[in-house]
């Protein structure tokens, strides 16, 4: 009884601690650029400013890139998850370990590793120049950013799909086989539909960080390559327009929330997808 009385204020306090920054971002977004909170004036200017084609273009590129990397990680990652799930438990764990290792490394570090591959003095260019060709400009375009994203986010696609596939009852496969289904039919009618919760978790876990990334695009895309994450960073850090920065953040968050709502609609089997949290 006593515990209960203490626990509520604690939870409320913690919730405030978490929610307050979000509320502040919101407040900044709907006030004018006054430099100080005392001259705050409610306005939608910050959002209107974003409607400029140059900013909308950034949003469009960000979403496109995020979608592309989500699709690629899904197409590449699903077979990996399936192959690993079919192995014996001992082998399975080693293979999953191999996939998890890079996740232990700092996100930044992993991206830098790609710099060493793709950079002007990098390995690929070393091979190219030794063969007598002119060095290639591999960094600083869409392809490099996309490659970096796929590399960084692949484990987040493989792991949830794998963890759902591994839990599928083998007798379901046998039952389908018993009822006349061949290997292809088993996949399309049983394995695939049952793995949907894992696929959805994977998609959200890749799409959300991909759409808001700023490190990958800055390093591999060069300073001139602007994604929405970079735009936010720029506003806060270099331009100093917190109001506009907050407005972009809000827009991005709404965008992510919509995506979440859409994907979770397909996700009837709630248990499966919640497995990862």
């Amino acid at each position: 009884m006593k515990m209960k009385a203490l626990s509520y204020p604690y939870i409320v306090w913690i919730a405030i601690f978490i929610v307050v920054p979000l509320v502040l971002v919101f407040l900044y977004a709907i006030t004018a650029n006054g430099g100080n909170l005392t001259d705050a004036r409610v306005t939608l200017d910050n959002f209107r400013k974003f409607m400029d084609p140059k900013y909308l273009d950034v949003l469009w590129i960000s979403v496109k890139l995020a979608l592309q990397s989500t699709v690629i990680t899904l197409v590449v990652g699903y077979p990996i998850a399936m192959i690993i799930a079919k192995e014996k438990p001992s082998k399975r764990n080693i293979m999953i370990f191999l996939f998890v290792i890079p996740m232990w490394m700092n996100f930044l570090l992993r991206t830098y590793a790609w710099l060493t591959l793709l950079g002007k003095n990098g390995v690929i260019n070393f091979i190219v120049t030794s063969l007598g060709f002119k060095p290639l400009d591999l960094l600083y375009h869409d392809g490099a950013v996309l490659l970096g994203m796929v590399y960084n986010f692949l484990p987040f696609m493989v792991l949830p799909i794998y963890s759902v596939l591994v839990k599928i009852d083998k007798s379901l496969i046998e039952a389908a086989e018993d009822l006349g289904a061949n290997k292809f039919q088993i996949f399309t009618k049983i394995t695939m539909p049952l793995s949907i919760p894992g696929v959805i978790t994977g998609i959200t876990m890749v799409f959300m960080p991909a759409v808001s990334t700023f490190v990958i695009s800055r390093l591999l895309g060069g300073g001139q390559y602007m994604l929405i994450g970079n735009l936010i960073e720029q506003q806060f850090l270099w331009v100093g327009d917190w109001h506009f920065g907050s407005a972009i953040s809000i827009i991005m968050m709404i965008f992510i929330l919509i995506t979440m709502a859409l994907t979770s609609k397909f996700d009837s089997e709630k248990e499966g997808s919640r497995g990862l949290w």
């Binding site: 379901l172 086989e177 009822l179 006349g180 049952l194």
Partner: protein, 349 residues
């Protein structure tokens, strides 16, 4: 006669990692027969079923189906369907889709599928359940869907792997009767696996008792119960008193220090044998009239009868009787010749 066999297992053996789980299984199954593989867990009964279904390959031996060798035919090409132990219903499909699965795979016309699924639902008493999700069904209902899903394909043989294991006692008894009736109605061969001896006796035309990967006895329920071939079968099928004895000559056996008449013959003279006496076959008399005598050690009420443990000074006898005898009384026991079952003595591993 051979034509009458729908399935014929020829010297089937199976090893996993060098461990032999099935040893030289020879078994034929007649058309429209209800045959039960009975034995404790790990006796190889499920492995035998899975070999018939095609989910496992035998290490040695052949599986003959209607005269053709199907040992290497994959499950999806066999005219055999299976009801799995935990039903294995597809959780992402409703009842209709589950039952229609096999027919859709065979690309039957839509109205034909609908007709046959409806028919099946009637057979298993689940009319109107078409659109229910699997999760919303009770254990017994799921069980029926699993049976319908298998039967709708009109298999020549239906394999059932402890299909009632997950149900509670009362539902189990009901489903036993229902399954047996269903088999008689549809008129196909059922191969049934269970570890419950009562279930096996109630439902089967033929019972196959297995232990340690070896067939111990094949016979009708009556044969198995009344004439167990060895101590394992006697102990596994019902309760029994098993006593060492000597066969003096045909129809004369000695055990517990007394000589009895019996109806068994064909043993060598003075052969050491084992005698099985069912608890309900021991007649209680007054001490003076009993060939055996003993003191009542314990009495338990079991509903239909009392279970009385009697000690004759050397061993305990288990008696099932509707007469209650208080603990401590001396009683006599008699056994009719036809209730003395003489078995060859086998050295247990």
């Amino acid at each position: 006669m051979e034509n009458n066999y729908i399935i014929d297992l020829k010297s089937i053996s199976k090893e996993y990692d060098g461990v032999r789980v099935l040893d030289n299984i020879n078994l034929y199954v007649r058309k429209n027969e209800f045959i039960t593989l009975l034995g404790p867990s790990g006796c190889g009964k499920t492995t035998t079923l899975r070999i018939i279904g095609g989910f496992e390959q035998p290490t040695e031996g052949r599986v003959i189906f209607e005269g053709k060798d199907i040992t290497n035919v994959p499950p999806y090409k066999r005219q055999i369907n299976t009801v799995f132990q935990k039903y294995a219903l597809f959780p992402h499909m409703n009842v209709f889709e589950n039952i229609a699965f096999g027919l859709k795979i065979k690309k039957l016309p839509k109205n034909e599928i609908e007709k046959r699924v409806k028919e099946m639902l009637r057979l298993v008493n689940l009319q109107g359940f078409e659109n229910r999700s699997i999760q919303s069904l009770s254990g017994g209902q799921q069980q029926r869907v699993a049976i319908a899903r298998a039967l709708v394909n009109e298999p020549k043989v239906l394999l059932l792997d402890e299909p009632l294991g997950a149900l509670d006692l009362k539902l189990r008894k009901e489903m036993q009767t229902e399954l047996k009736n269903m088999q008689q109605r549809v008129g196909i061969t059922f191969i049934y696996v269970t570890h419950d001896q009562e279930e096996a006796l109630t439902m089967s035309d033929t019972v196959v008792v297995m232990d340690k990967g070896v067939i111990q006895q094949i016979g009708t329920p009556e044969d198995i119960y009344n004439e167990p071939k060895n101590a394992f079968v006697a102990k596994f099928i019902g309760e029994s008193n098993i006593i060492d004895g000597i066969m003096h000559e045909d129809f004369v056996v000695e055990f517990a220090g007394e000589v009895f008449k019996c109806i068994d013959k064909g043993f060598s003279k003075k052969e050491t044998i084992e005698v099985v006496i069912r608890p309900e076959d021991l007649e209680i008399t007054i001490p003076e009239e009993g060939k055996l005598k003993g003191i009542v050690k314990s009495v338990t009420f079991k509903g239909v009868h009392y279970e009385i443990i009697v000690n004759d000074g050397n061993r305990d006898w288990k008696i099932h009787s509707t007469i209650m005898k208080p603990v401590g009384t001396e009683i006599g026991m008699n056994i009719a010749p036809e209730n003395i079952h003489v078995m060859k003595k086998v050295n247990e591993k």
